[in-house]
Each structure stands twice: as structure tokens, then as C-alpha cells.
Symmetry: C2
Subunit: 399 residues, 2 copies
């Protein structure tokens, strides 16, 4: 299958491109390297050293004989996107090309506006490009479980049957997103749903949970294929950050009570879910939503699991509760359905002791690359201006 | 009360500014005249000749002794908006400053992107300006009944109690908007709701129905105060267009079967609803939604009422059914609640024979200003490019 992977240099996009390539699909990566530039902006870097995309792709070809094409550009540039769409004539477009960090979107007005314009206009451009140049192409869009927020009822996959005053209808599940970033994904979902209705676009919206891990069978083949591992306060996800904190003897930073419960999945399941969506496309005009996660945990449960893993590895792990920098329920009901991808054949990699150990081991291996000034949250939802780009905290190393 | 009226030169904004000024409020109008520039773009003009805003405001002061301040600028320019917010220190901001036409947003990709970026970023800027400079100020935001679409259940005012698998919650009413414009309003609603939650903003989202009429007590005081009356295919609303068609012996153009049912209200009720919202502000952190309309009609019912009014006035009115240029249900259930503004004291001006007669009379009075090439729909939802700015249809007048 001819597949475009937009954002194919990123944390989920890169292993997805490799996985799909190994499975025999014909892959073109589109990326503008903005993820790497945000690292510069924030004074952060991935814990695992990553190589330039060109080197990554050359190595992949050397090892497997499989070619991955690269198109460098921004999907906000419609002329560029239109050219790519016509030249590569994809059967599926996997769309990871968005600003994906909630804290980044909450830094200040500029970052809020950037996140929403970047994500919404990029997706609008893509919808128009599909309609104009490749109308039968299947859009596989990354959404987020965070679109739903934490309602006091079970979360369904995209739609819910509502009975009201003696009548009923199946309607989009109500959305209560918790950051300007999450809001941008809700805006996207509404825009995509509408384009399916008016133009017959085929679309699958994958409401993904929080992804953990970094290694897949493909990225493990060579050092040049290594994937990102983000642990900083802006782009790092909870479990990765906890593992790094454990590895360097820094208290694990749980925000608030830690009862915040979310859906999680292993990066190896992310790549498989994408392929399952591509192989089983939505029908013409169908807007389909899958909840893409495998297990629910509270943040405190994750912290406790890392605590235990750290003890197994001889580390002295403590857990700190910080005031929650986000505005969110710290204790709540949470029960989200996630059966549709399983029905298509997903066999989940559940969070095991051995995986936790391997994550902490990766963190220990790259201990010398950890910048401690990036571990504590510096973006508070209650402020409209956070000095995230203020003078960095200078940690003077003892001799 | 000190009130900012953003978009105060437009069809709803201008009569609102006058009404609030007459009622003793201290009014500042903010406008960038984009509505007038869209007329140039589309080769259209209001049926009723309108004066420059400066002349409008001078006349108002001469007649009533009341001053209205004007600030010319774009709310997408945050430095400008921040200055206005600090200098005028409003207790309420009435936000009409959006691109408000569904067909305009559906012309092509550029217009879709413009409509969403303009509306979403303008509202985001306003939310940040309120948070930073005037946190107690009440945001009165114009939404639209079109955010809800046409679900097969009763439409509530913003929120609905949902019972599901033995649990229940009150959640945002699911949205099914029908154009890129309507989508922009849904995006706004989600953004505003979130800012109420994180920053304690006070907000009232007025989901307004289709407004008809042009005259209020204030605009009737002088020719220089006359309000817009749009009848063209892009900015004209159904009832206004029908009256113009009746006046010039052009068939009334009903899209499809005409069973499309919507909420409607008189412009005199619009201005009163705005004042009611201002006088009864939302609490700190409250996101309140009012459905702002007074009666439901199907498009065909409106056409038939104009048909009857035309006969009373000696006109020969016929009704045509055109293929619907929009993608929408042409027959559907529709029952939307609208009790909250009535509870605050709204006494509706229902659509009467005398009002219909007066609308047709306005159209007859300005018959010579009607451009017939603007009456038929030229923006089709099924196309991603509509040549709305193509060569105008040249109608040669007979001597």
C-alpha cells in the first residue's frame, strides 16, 4: 500500500514509518523538522541520541534494502502539500504532523495560537488536498483520548446513543478537552467529520492514549535508527519522565493527588494500530473513531510501578506530590471503551515488569545526558504567560 | 455599563451599539471594516445605502447627545486589542467581530482557512486580553444555533444530561455544524468553555438563530443611521432574500424541499437579548449558553409567508425549488429550547404580517439597487473550489 506518513521524523511517526516499510508498504515521510526545532527553543533534547532523518533513512535502506522517500516541507504550505499528494498518490495518509504537547500549547498566547492554527490549518489543507487530488485516499488521523476529558459516564468510541425526551439519536460524544492542544484536536475532529459528510472523505480518527516506550523491533536494528525519548516537562510523557527521575535519584514528580486516570499504550502497539487502520479503511464518507490505548492507569499507579522497578534495579526511588500545574480533576471516574482495534486484530503489549525495567535501564544508560533543570513543571495552566523560555536554570556540576 | 462592541459596524453590531447607547451604556465600537471589504470582494452591496461609521456616529451624537467611541483595528492584532482593553476597561465585551457567512466559508480553501483562523484566533486573543487586563469583564459571544445541526432529539441550551450504563453527567450538547463557518463557532465555544474553567472567565455564548429585518427604533431616527440589508447569495439571509425576490418579480429560491427548519428572530430582539445578557452577567468561571431565537420556521414556510405578503401588496410571487447547494437534511425533526432569555425578560417581536409587509416594502423602495446576478446560489458545498469571484454576470439594462 502507498502510504504517506506526515510527521514521520517524530516520536510516533518514525517507528510507524519503519514498521510499515518493513511490512512491505511503500512509504513517503513528510516532515518539516519542527519537532527538532522545538527542542532548540526549549533548551531540551531527547534522552536517546537521534540521527538526522537522511541518515536514518539511509541506514534503513542499507540494512533492509527498503527505500523510504523523504519530502521536507510544511503541510501549511498548500502548494507543497498538493505537489506531494499528486506525486505520491497515496492510498492512505497517516497524519502525525501536529504540535502534540499540552504544556507547549499552554506556555502563552503565542504558543496557544500557534498550536491551534498549525494543527487546524494543517488538517484543513490535508482535507482539501485529499478532496482535490486523491479523493479515494484514506485519512488516518491521530487524535487523542484527551478530547473526551473525564466525564462521569463511560467513554464510547467517538459516538454515543442518547435518549432524550422520548426520542433518540447517535451523536458525537461530547468533548471536554483540557488544554489548547487538546482543543485543537477536537477542532480537527469536527472539521474531518464535516468533510466526510460533504465530500465523501474516508477517515479514521485514532484517539490515542499516552504512549510510552521508545524501542520497536525496527528501531532496535541499529543505533542510527534509535527513536526519541522525551523526559522534559513540556514534551516528556509521565512514564518516561518517571523512569528518568528514578535513574538519576530524583524524586518522581506526581502532579497533585495522582488520581488522574488515562489510557496508555506501548509504542509497539501504536505502530500496529496504524497499520490495522490502514489495512481496514473507512468507507467513502465514513468518519470512524477508534480509541487507541490498551490499559488504564492513574498517574500514581505508574509512579508506584516505577518505584518497584527501581527497587528491583537497586535504585532509591521516592515519590513527590507537586501542586498540579494543570487544571484537571485529580480524582474522577474513568472507563473508556477500546474494543474496535482489538476487533481488527490488535494483540496488546501490556505494561510488564520487564518493559518497566528496560525503560529504567535506558534512562540509566543515558544518565549523563539528563538535564535536571527540565524535570520540574514550569508551565502552569492558571497563568496566561509562562516564562518557559526564560534564562535556563544553570546547574553547576561538582568536580 | 461600559461595553465594548466588537464588530459594531456590522448588521447586528451597529443596531446593538445604538440600542445600548440609548439605554445609557457607555459604548466603544471596535471594527476593522472587513464586512464592507467583503462586499467589494463579492461585487455586492447592502440593499439599504449605509453611511461611513464616522458619519453614523456623528449623526447619533447630534440627535441624541450620546457619544460612541470608535476604535478602528483588527482583533487579530493583539497589541491593538490589548490597548483597547486597557483604555476602555469594559465591564462587558460583546463579540460580533467574526466572519459570519456559511457560503463565504465554503467558497474555497482560502476562505475556509480564513474563516476559521479569523474567528478562532480573534476569540483566543480576546480571551487572553480579558484574562490579562480585565479579568472580571463579562464576555458576551455570538454563537449560532447552527452549532447543533439537526439532531433527532430536542436541542437544549448548551448542555444535556446524559444517562449511560447506569451513570449520568451533564455534558456539552453534541455539535454537528454544517459549514466551515459554523465549525469555527463550535471551535470558539470549546475554547471559551475551557478558559472559563482555567481562568475563571465569565462568558455567555449566545447561540443565535437567523436574524431578519433591518429597522430598530434607533436606526429609524435618521437616514444616516440606516442598517445593512443583505440579500446576496453569500451574506443574505433567507427571509431578506425572499423579500427582495418578491419585490422585483423574481421567483423565490427555496433550496431543495425547503423542509430545513431553523430558529429565527427579529433584529429588534437581537439587540434586546444582548442587553439582557450584559445586565445579567455570568458568574466568575461560568460558561453559560442561551439559545437566542424566538420562533422556528421551515424555509418553505417563510417562502409561503412572503408569497402571501406579496399578494397583499399586489405582487406576483412564485416559488422555485433549486437543487440544494448545501449538504443538509431537507426534512428533519427540529425542536430547540429557548427559555433562558425569556426568563431574563425577553418579550419577542414575532414574525407578523405587518413586519413582512414592511420588509417587502423596503425591498420595493430600493428595487433599483438590486443586482439580480447576486440572487442565485453560486457556492456549492460539494465543490472545494467555487468561482465566486469569477467574472460577474453582466446584465444589460434595456433603455
Amino acid at each position: 500500500m502507498r502510504i504517506l506518513v506526515l510527521g514521520g521524523d517524530g516520536y510516533c511517526g518514525w517507528p510507524t514509518a519503519l514498521y510499515l516499510s518493513r511490512r512491505g508498504h511503500d512509504i513517503t515521510i513528510v516532515d518539516n523538522y519542527c519537532r527538532r526545532s522545538w527542542d532548540h527553543e526549549l533548551g531540551a533534547q531527547t534522552l536517546t541520541p537521534i540521527r538526522p532523518l537522511t541518515e536514518r533513512v539511509r541506514t534503513w535502506q542499507r540494512l533492509t534494502g527498503k527505500e523510504i522517500e523523504i519530502r521536507v516541507g510544511d503541510i501549511l504550505d498548500y502548494a507543497f502539500l498538493a505537489e506531494v499528494m499528486q506525486e505520491s498518490a497515496p492510498e492512505a495518509v497517516v497524519h502525525f504532523a501536529e504540535q502534540r504537547s499540552a504544556p507547549y500549547s499552554m506556555i502563552d498566547r503565542q504558543h496557544a495560537v500557534f498550536s491551534q492554527v498549525n494543527n487546524v490549518v494543517g488538517t484543513l489543507n490535508l482535507l482539501f488536498a485529499i478532496k482535490e487530488f486523491q479523493p479515494d485516499c484514506h485519512l488516518v488521523k491521530l487524535g487523542t483520548m484527551g478530547e473526551y476529558g473525564t466525564p462521569n459516564i463511560d467513554i464510547e468510541e467517538g459516538f454515543i446513543k442518547i435518549q432524550h425526551n422520548g426520542r433518540e439519536d447517535v451523536l458525537p460524544f461530547p468533548k471536554q478537552p483540557g488544554s489548547f492542544y487538546h482543543l485543537s484536536k477536537v477542532h480537527d475532529s469536527h472539521n474531518i467529520h464535516f468533510c466526510c459528510k460533504i465530500w465523501g472523505v474516508r477517515a479514521t480518527d485514532l484517539n490515542q492514549g499516552v504512549v510510552y516506550g521508545t524501542v520497536t523491533d525496527e528501531t532496535a536494528l541499529d543505533e542510527a535508527l534509535v527513536n526519541r525519548f522525551d523526559y522534559d516537562d513540556v514534551f516528556g510523557t509521565a512514564l518516561n519522565r518517571f523512569c528518568v527521575q528514578a535513574a538519576i535519584d530524583h524524586p518522581i514528580t506526581v502532579y497533585g493527588k495522582g488520581g488522574q486516570t488515562r489510557g496508555f499504550l506501548d509504542i509497539r502497539d501504536t505502530v500496529r494500530c496504524i497499520e490495522l487502520a490502514c489495512l481496514n479503511p473507512a468507507g467513502r464518507g465514513e468518519f470512524r473513531v477508534f480509541n487507541q490505548f490498551t490499559e488504564q492507569f492513574s498517574v500514581l499507579q505508574l509512579a508506584e510501578m516505577v518505584h518497584v522497578a527501581g527497587q528491583r534495579l537497586g535504585l532509591n526511588v521516592t515519590i513527590d506530590h507537586l501542586p498540579d500545574p494543570r487544571v484537571e480533576a485529580e480524582e474522577h471516574y474513568y472507563n473508556a471503551k477500546h474494543t474496535k482495534l482489538a476487533e481488527l486484530g490488535l494483540k496488546p503489549h501490556l505494561l510488564s515488569e520487564s518493559l518497566l525495567d528496560s525503560l529504567v535501564n535506558i534512562a540509566m544508560q543515558h544518565r549523563d545526558r539528563v538535564d535536571q533543570s527540565l524535570l520540574l513543571p514550569r508551565v502552569n495552566w492558571r497563568n496566561s504567560r509562562n516564562d518557559r523560555r526564560a534564562k535556563p536554570v544553570v546547574a553547576v556540576a561538582a568536580d
